[in-house]
């Protein structure tokens, strides 16, 4: 019988350290792993390198890490929804690397799928092109974009079974699935943890083999 991957939040936090690179899903503040972020804050981890699409909104979700000065560098597509992130970036307190959102998706997926790089027209002739190799194929130019990986990915699932098979709810899926493929260690928080077998094999989005630990998400960590 397959072993349960369900652990306490304390056990999960042993896998995170200051200075690590973390993948944190979420679009604005939807689909963000609120419980794991609260636990990271509580544990005092700092100097984090964050790979995320954005930084939620001021004081919420990933914005809590911004507010508490736990982030050294962010690789993301957008910070405009969080005025505090913008202030700290302008003040030089957080470094940021902007990546077009679709390219960010491709780079994370490449990191998780053993792809050495992908060619895209997105960003050609823009500041995104700087420092990158341009490859021409049949007269059409493309930027060569390289894979991204992280030490740990923290994931927010709607339901996870005890061996880590996950499903997501509506647009809360966003970056969760690809980030679960591209980190050395994957921690899932689930709104509901169910028995193995309760999820139809055809609707599982993240196979349990990608997941190392499952924790129960806490309702009190969820932003209103």
């Amino acid at each position: 019988m397959a072993k349960s991957k369900v652990v306490s939040i304390d056990e999960a936090m042993e896998k995170i350290h200051s200075g690590q690179t973390l993948m944190v899903p979420g679009f604005v503040n939807c689909g963000v792993p609120q419980t794991l972020i609260a636990a990271i804050l509580e544990r005092g981890y700092t100097d984090l390198n964050i790979i995320s699409n954005n930084t939620s909104v001021k004081g919420k979700g990933i914005g809590k890490l911004v507010h508490a000065n736990r982030i050294k560098h962010i690789t993301c597509s957008h910070i405009g929804n969080n005025t505090e992130t913008v202030e700290k970036v302008v003040a030089g307190e957080i470094n940021v690397t902007f990546v077009p959102q679709g390219t960010l998706c491709e780079r994370i997926r490449a990191g998780g799928a053993g792809i050495g790089g992908i060619l895209t027209p997105t960003g050609l002739g823009t500041p995104v092109e700087e420092g990158k190799q341009v490859i021409e194929i049949n007269g059409k130019k493309y930027l060569l974009e390289l894979p991204l990986r992280a030490d740990v990915a923290i994931i927010h699932a709607y339901k996870a079974d005890k061996i880590g098979n996950c499903i997501y709810h509506r647009t809360a899926r966003n970056f969760n699935q690809i980030m679960a493929t591209a980190a050395d260690f994957v921690i899932v928080e689930a709104e509901e943890i169910v028995e193995v077998g309760e999820l139809d094999p055809d609707i599982i989005v993240t196979p349990g083999c990608l997941v190392d630990m499952v924790v129960q998400a806490r309702l009190e960590d969820r932003d209103e």
Partner: protein
């Protein structure tokens, strides 16, 4: 009808029945109020959904897991579906989005667009704009013809950091419709009461003026 609504009404006429359309935040969403009769479109949002259907009505359940491109809670129509960001941008970059409508800081006669960065002023990031502009089949820029100081926004050459090169198809303003072709920017339609001279005087870009110019409605 104010200028923004006038622009939205004209822009909505570009949509064909069944189109998958991505509308940028702000003015582009006004297009939904002016859909032509018999034209049913599907709204795609880059965060992973087809079939967004506006903010929840009073008394309707507001699901925090259904958000639009600005992160605001939205509803979905029957027949819509959700998927992850990777799949979403696969659709966008693969040319499966029929129309993308965006705002502009600047747009130029080479079809270049700048709408994400004003160095020294904002550091918002490009989000999905570069992907949308380089991926969608039809790229429509909706913008007031001049900025709030009266300076032209339609230029010979953009000065701000670009969103994409040579991707804009149409520019719709309160004065006119411009079509970006291989030959350059063609003045295709004029708003009622607007003259060619007025458009030319408020435009930095060189315009191609055809013999017959349509009327914006």
């Amino acid at each position: 009808m104010n200028s923004r609504e006038f622009i939205a009404k004209r822009t909505a006429k570009f949509f064909n029945d069944g189109d998958l359309v991505n509308l940028g935040i702000g003015m582009p969403t006004l297009c939904l109020n002016y859909l032509p009769e018999d034209v049913d479109i599907w709204i795609q949002s880059e965060n992973g959904v087809i079939g967004l259907d506006g903010t929840p009505k009073e008394g309707e359940y507001a699901d925090p897991d259904i958000v639009d491109a600005s992160g605001s809670i939205s509803t979905m129509r029957v027949g819509g579906c959700c998927f992850d960001s990777f799949t979403s941008f696969g659709l966008i970059r693969g040319g499966h989005v029929n129309v993308t409508v965006l705002g502009a800081y600047e747009v130029d006669q080479e079809g270049n667009l700048a709408n994400w960065s004003v160095p020294g002023k904002t550091v918002a990031g490009m989000g999905g704009a570069m992907d949308l502009v380089s991926g969608a089949q039809l790229v429509i820029v909706m913008t007031m013809h001049c900025d709030k100081y009266g300076n032209p926004k339609i230029l010979k050459k953009c000065t701000l950091p670009l969103t994409a090169v040579n991707e804009v198809d149409y520019i719709v303003t309160e004065l006119c419709v411009l079509h970006h072709t291989e030959e350059g920017l063609v003045l295709e339609e004029l708003a009622p009461g607007v003259t060619v001279e007025e458009v030319v005087s408020k435009t930095d870009a060189e315009l191609i003026i055809p013999e017959k110019i349509g009327s914006m409605e």
